[in-house]
């Protein structure tokens, strides 16, 4: 973050705004979870999209990842890749799409 006072005052305004946004999106998440979509999987997908949006607000603005040193991105890129590998492979190890059905 910048060091001069004006920039900090600007940052404070931004922080408060994001705080409100997060609260609003929390309400939206709760409300959406009571809406019956085409199937419950859709509820999960939509819920996760909203949550990811909120999380990116926190990461980008609060943790100022919107202007961080390159190195931090490199570290996080690998981490996120491995975490995603975990999610995806764990998912598929319970729902194998390559099952030979006519056995």
């Amino acid at each position: 973050m910048a060091d001069n006072p004006e920039a900090i005052y600007g940052a404070i305004r931004k922080i408060k705004l994001i705080g409100w946004l997060l609260a609003v999106f929390t309400v939206i998440t709760v409300a959406l979870s009571y809406v019956e979509l085409a199937s419950h999987s859709w509820n999960i997908i939509v819920g996760m999209i909203v949550a990811t949006f909120k999380a990116s607000l926190v990461a980008l603005i609060f943790m100022h990842l919107n202007h961080e040193a390159k190195l931090v991105y490199k570290i996080l890129a690998f981490t996120v890749a491995f975490a995603l590998a975990l999610f995806i492979l764990f998912y598929f190890s319970n729902t194998d799409p390559l099952v030979y059905k006519d056995f």
Binding site: A2, D96, L98
Partner: protein, 647 residues
């Protein structure tokens, strides 16, 4: 060397000379911590080795009392310790299945988590890396101390678990659930259970390695000396950098596995327990709904990267030892760096090749077979780089070089025998047999451990100011090489003969093991016949051969232990600060390096492996010298300042 004292004055007001405890026990100095790690690791290796000897005895001579059992039990203090840890499970000195399982589980755990990683990674990286990058200490010295002491607690916890009423854990170093979630729960107090202590000790161990790896990476990123760009960094630092990342990112899922298993055992949850699980003909009092597969996924997500944590320090050390002893630059430095990075990345994506037989699904196995075959490519590049580095060198056969050169074929055998395992159709036959044991032991025992020995011989003079004895070193090397191969080579034969990896009787009670014989078993039988020993001409006979190898290996370590301790005071003094004529920065420090390490403002002006530079009189050109014998001026290095991304 004399500059050590003037240095202390610069420390300013808030620093006073630490006492003995501050200096050697709760020290924040990276060198002391490195040595603490190394010695603790060596002791654990020795202890794990001792557990293995007991196992090997039971395998070769099931049902027969351990030789010297009565004698040891009667020694005053040691006898009591021995009895409480091991003796009480072995009535009359005979290793039974229960004890064998404890020995096996603790051998694996201790060797991997308390021996090799602390010595190979933490010990060497702490001692050498800050010196090699020309800085005064790690980025977070206090965390570094915490890291060691957390590790120490985990070691004490593991050892203490032997003394508990339940004895130590019995379910293999892999702790597979559901067995590991449900076994031995009918006890007075689950908190005082060897298994519980194992899990909690692992949590400490993982926290320690987490702190350590954060520290190592930060140091490498932010504290490199002026002029030491990434591509001037010795391969040692690169390899350790990668290892630190593996520890940082792969260990947490193991922590999850440990916590969930802990919850299964202590809180009665069913993370790893399927619905309807029965034990002894009775339904367990559990809800079910979990899966053992989940445990294996979490465990192997760590444990595959962990095998690279075990092997990369070996490459790290050899990349320093081999050029120094062949007087040739490391061949393919860049290729090795990129291969190392690729290896690190891929090692996160191959874990389930340990799980082909779990029925995890066709797509999963297909995917994991592909990535596993892929990862062997960078492994081969690393090995090839080291091998070609030998070519055309004028090799000095110091003990460290002997160990280094033995590493190459040994690791080669280990790696090549891994390849067939990468395919499900072969693994179907070989999974959980001695073949797998042979495979990974060739990689870690005559592989990594040899490299660690090489490292000890190589940096010992820097740490103590004295060189280890050359003759004792060779006396250490040859029996070790012979012993290692006698133990591990027959495992491939037994494994292909179907020997399961966890038989406490070595297969004696399995009929079919008596009939299989080949030229090797015949040779074994005849060899022992020469000494009047009756060793059967079948696969069982190899058990005797392997135990014989283990004894040779044991004897081979005696010269090392003597050499290690006696040379502290009795070794030959080094002729100067750079006894091996090396090029990397650690050899620019006084010997041993004082607190704060360097006596002058060190900078790096060239790559790390400038050996036998054409046209130069001396056959090495240190990184820190602008011309032979003269340290480069800091001002001569212009660092390109990248504008910070802030503002």
């Amino acid at each position: 060397m004399s500059a050590a004292h003037t240095q202390n004055n610069d420390h300013g007001h808030d620093h006073h000379e630490p006492g003995f405890i501050g200096k050697y026990v709760f020290s924040t100095d990276h060198k002391v911590i490195g040595i603490q790690y190394a010695i603790t690791g060596l002791l654990f290796l020795l202890f794990g080795f001792f557990l293995m000897l007991l196992m090997r005895w039971s395998i070769a001579y099931p049902g027969q009392p351990i030789p010297g059992f009565d004698l040891v039990s009667k020694v005053p203090v040691l006898g009591w310790l021995f009895n409480e840890m091991i003796g009480r499970w072995a009535p009359g000195g005979v290793v039974n299945g229960e004890l064998y399982n404890m020995l096996g589980a603790m051998h694996g755990t201790i060797m991997v988590f308390l021996g090799i990683v602390p010595l190979g990674f933490a010990g060497f990286v702490n001692f050498v890396m800050p010196l090699q990058i020309g800085t005064i200490d790690m980025a977070f010295p206090r965390l570094n101390m915490w890291s060691y002491w957390l590790f120490f607690v985990s070691g004490v916890g593991m050892l203490a678990s032997f003394f508990l009423g339940t004895g130590s854990v019995q379910t293999g170093w892999t702790m597979y659930s559901p067995l590991a979630s449900t076994t031995g729960l009918a006890v007075t107090n689950v908190w005082m259970h060897g298994h519980t202590w194992w899990l909690l000790s692992m949590v400490f161990n993982i926290s320690a390695s987490l702190l350590g790896s954060v520290n190592v990476i930060t140091t490498l990123i932010n504290l490199r000396a002026k002029g030491l760009t990434w591509m001037r960094m010795p391969f040692f630092c690169w390899a350790m950098f990668i290892v630190a990342f593996l520890l940082l990112l792969a260990f947490p899922p193991l922590e999850v596995a440990a916590l969930l298993q802990f919850s299964d055992r202590v809180f009665g949850s069913s993370f790893f327990l399927p619905t309807g699980l029965m034990e002894g003909g009775q339904h367990l009092d559990i809800s079910g709904g979990g899966s053992p597969l989940l445990y294996q996924h979490l465990f192997w997500f760590l444990a595959h990267p962990e095998v690279y944590v075990l092997i990369l320090p070996a490459f790290a050390i050899l990349a320093e030892v081999i050029p120094a002893n062949t007087r040739r630059p490391l061949w393919g430095y860049k290729a090795m760096v990129y291969a190392g990075l690729t290896l690190g990345f891929l090692s996160f994506l191959v874990w389930a090749h340990h799980m082909y037989l779990t029925g995890m699904g066709t797509m999963m196995s297909t995917y994991f077979q592909i990535t596993t075959v892929l990862i062997s490519v960078p492994s081969v590049i690393l090995l090839t780089g080291l091998m070609i580095s030998l070519y055309g060198g004028s090799i000095r056969f110091t003990p460290q070089m002997l160990f280094a050169s033995a590493f190459l074929p040994m690791f080669g055998i280990g790696g090549l025998t891994g390849l067939p395992l990468a395919f499900t159709f072969i693994d179907l036959a070989l999974h959980d047999t001695y073949y797998v044991i042979g495979h990974f032991h060739y990689v870690v025992a005559p592989g990594t451990i040899f490299a660690l020995f090489a490292g000890v011989y190589h940096w010992y003079p820097k740490a103590t100011g004295r060189v280890m004895n050359d003759f004792l070193g060779k006396l250490h090397f040859w029996p070790s090489l012979v012993g290692m191969n006698l133990i591990f080579a027959p495992m491939f034969i037994q494994g292909m003969g179907g020997f399961h990896r966890r038989w406490y009787d070595g297969g004696k009670y399995f009929e079919q093991t008596h009939s299989a014989s080949n030229w090797f078993t015949e040779l074994t039988s005849k060899f022992f016949g020469l000494f009047g020993m009756d060793v059967p001409n079948n696969l069982l006979g190899l058990n005797v051969l392997m135990t014989f190898g283990a004894v040779i290996l044991m004897l081979g370590q005696v010269p090392f232990i003597l050499n290690f301790w006696l040379s502290v005071k009795g070794g030959k003094k080094v002729k100067n600060d750079n006894p091996w004529d090396c090029t990397t920065l650690e050899w620019a420090t006084p010997t041993p390096p004082p607190h704060g390490n360097f006596t002058f403002d060190i900078v790096a002006v060239r790559g790390p492996y400038e050996y036998s530079v054409p046209g130069m009189k001396q056959d090495y050109f240190p990184q820190w010298e602008s011309e032979p014998g003269k340290a480069a001026e800091p001002a001569s290095v212009n660092t390109k300042v990248v504008p910070t991304p802030h503002h």
